[in-house]
């Protein structure tokens, strides 16, 4: 078993009421007397977490779920109200924007301070300064006060410092969301390299794409409590499905959908109804069937599609393209079913969709979507396994 870097047991954090000055005085008296705050608001409750060297964990959850607070507890910026956190090894953290920079000082001064905080001597820093400046790539701004930086430049510099320090544990909070495309790619490349070399990563992100790309495990927080933890694909799928359910609940309250001309009433994937994500084995069978309600009783066109979790289309096909008709069940009800035997999608997470179009195939009327996880092990790259054959000339080596 690898060395444990972070061990948190029953960790909770409560913020006291601090709006009125009388509250502050009362809190001060209580703290000096060594008593606990009674009416504090818990933002993180009862979290157990164990991070071993070499692990990569994504922390996901909606805004205000307590993700940042959890990271702050681990880095030691916050002291837990209950439970305890033990950390061994060096920790490099990029918490929110600003990264702990002093706005009045130049980028170079701030790099010096960060280096001192991480226990780097003057000579060690001098040796790395050039490398940091190159990674940050902010040009002459390095000698300007940080208050003149754009938020992207702040993150660039913050990440450059961490990249140069190579801590045992890297903690980043929504950092990738700020940088531009090329810097994001640079960061991701760096983190992949860092993980390959045995680094440990805790990443807060709202992008399931980044979570799945960089992390093997995930932790889903909601209202300060742990909802689910485990394999990144399962947890992120569950999280997305939960979001969809929440969205659906909102939509149901919105104007009734049943007035549409071609309405999709359900999407059954591999015999599983509802709107939860479905798990299919790599190379297995995927059967999707759907019921369509046509207001005027006209024949609809149905289209099935598969997209990758980040929205990249993989495949789409309609009844009209294949010149098959949807089956009429009654005057207004139609049924359509499609089967993909020997599914060639590579393991990962996807979305399946069905759309309805009018008889002429000109207008899109309705869309229904569900999560799909393809489970399995494969070291191939890309989205699908293409049929292939390795051509080997016989007798080339005397065999």
């Amino acid at each position: 078993m690898n060395q444990v870097l972070v061990k948190a047991t029953g960790v909770g954090k409560a913020y006291p009421k601090a709006y009125l000055s009388s509250d502050r005085l009362r809190a001060l008296a209580r703290l000096l007397a060594g008593r606990r705050d009674a009416d504090a608001q818990y933002v993180v409750r009862d979290i157990d977490l164990c991070v071993r060297r070499g692990e990569s964990i994504a922390v996901i959850g909606q805004n205000g779920a307590g993700k940042s607070t959890l990271l702050k507890l681990i880095t030691g910026v916050l002291t837990p109200t209950s439970g305890k956190v033990e950390v061994s090894g060096s920790v490099g953290a990029l918490l929110e924007l600003g990264a702990g920079f002093h706005p009045e000082y130049s980028g170079r001064d701030n790099v010096e301070m960060a280096a001192a905080l991480h226990g780097l001597s003057h000579d060690e820093l001098a040796a790395r300064m050039q490398q940091i400046i190159e990674f940050a790539d902010i040009g002459a701004y390095i000698d300007e006060p940080v208050k003149h930086y754009s938020s992207g430049m702040v993150v660039r510099l913050g990440f450059a410092i961490i990249a140069s320090l190579k801590p045992d544990l890297l903690i980043t909070d929504e950092v990738l969301a700020v940088g531009d495309e090329s810097f994001q790619k640079k960061c991701i490349r760096w983190m992949e390299e860092y993980l390959k070399e045995g680094g440990t990563l805790l990443l807060v992100t709202h992008s399931m794409y980044h979570a799945q790309k960089l992390c093997r495990h995930a932790l889903w927080l909601d209202h300060g409590a742990l909802m689910q933890s485990g394999d990144v694909f399962e947890v992120s799928q569950a999280y997305l499905a939960w979001h969809e359910r929440k969205q659906a609940a909102i939509e149901q309250r919105a104007p009734d959908r049943s007035g549409i001309e071609f309405e999709i009433t359900d999407l059954v994937v591999n015999d599983s109804p509802g709107n939860q994500a479905v798990v299919v084995d790599f190379g297995g069978k995927l059967v999707m069937s759907s019921r369509i309600r046509s207001r005027e009783g006209r024949l609809p066109i149905a289209m099935f599609g598969i997209v990758r979790a980040d929205g990249t289309p993989v495949y789409g096909v309609s009844t009209e393209m294949d010149e098959v008709g949807v089956q009429r069940v009654s005057d207004h009800d139609f049924r359509v079913e499609i089967e993909f035997a020997g599914l060639s999608l590579l393991p990962g997470s996807y979305q399946v969709r069905i759309h309805t179009m009018d008889t002429e195939g000109l207008r899109l009327f309705d869309t229904l979507e569900r999560g799909l996880t393809v489970r399995g092990e494969s070291r191939e790259f890309g989205l699908v396994r293409l049929p292939h054959r390795w051509n080997q000339s016989s007798g080339g080596h005397g065999g």
Partner: protein
Amino acid sequence: MHKLALATHFIRRELKERYRGSFTGFGWALLQPLLQLAIYAFVFVQIFKARVPGAGAPGYVPFLVVAMWPWIAFSEAIFRSTTAIQDNAALIGKVALPRELLVLAPCAASFLLHGAGFLAILAVLSISGHGIEMVKIPLALLLYVPMFACAFGISLTLAGLQVFVRDLVQIIGQLLTLMMFAAPIFYDRTNLPERFQVLLDLNPFTFYVEGMRNLLLGYGEFPWHGLLIAILVAGLTLAFGLWLFRRLDPHFEDFL
């Protein structure tokens, strides 16, 4: 070792910040006390015709200087450290660090700057024939040790409390002025009516004033009885400051 390097870094940063953007830079640290001295000399000697009581007494200017400069270091250290935690709120929320160092930096910077200024002024006084006992300067500097401990203890207490009670810094400015006049800085103990003289001993700074005057000017008795008390007071203040600061430290982030 790591903490020491970090402390050095913060103190350097503090010193740099005070003179950032000024053309004269650190020269100002030496120029400023000299200008201040010229003003005091003019006001007290030329306008108020101040005289130091006693036969063979030193001139009023050296009499004032040896008490005034330690006081400037002491009071500025406390005043600047009071808001140290509040001023670094952005750092405290994002980086884990030993927060005492944030209080230590302004405190130590004040003592370093005004300690250097003090030496410069003593040199000027000595050259202009004011009878400074140069050989006793190292002894006088030893007095800075308990003085710094006392100031750091008070600073830790105030910096911790300031996070919770924001009006503290305003009150401190007033209290420091009061403390200055309640110590025999501008006058001598014997200038006071006898019944007020004992009150001076309640002020922890009185010892340093009288100690400095004895050592550097050979004026008055050395307050031996005060030495022990001063060391004790400094130790207790520092211990209390550290206790209170560490008690409040885990909760700073909640109230900043």
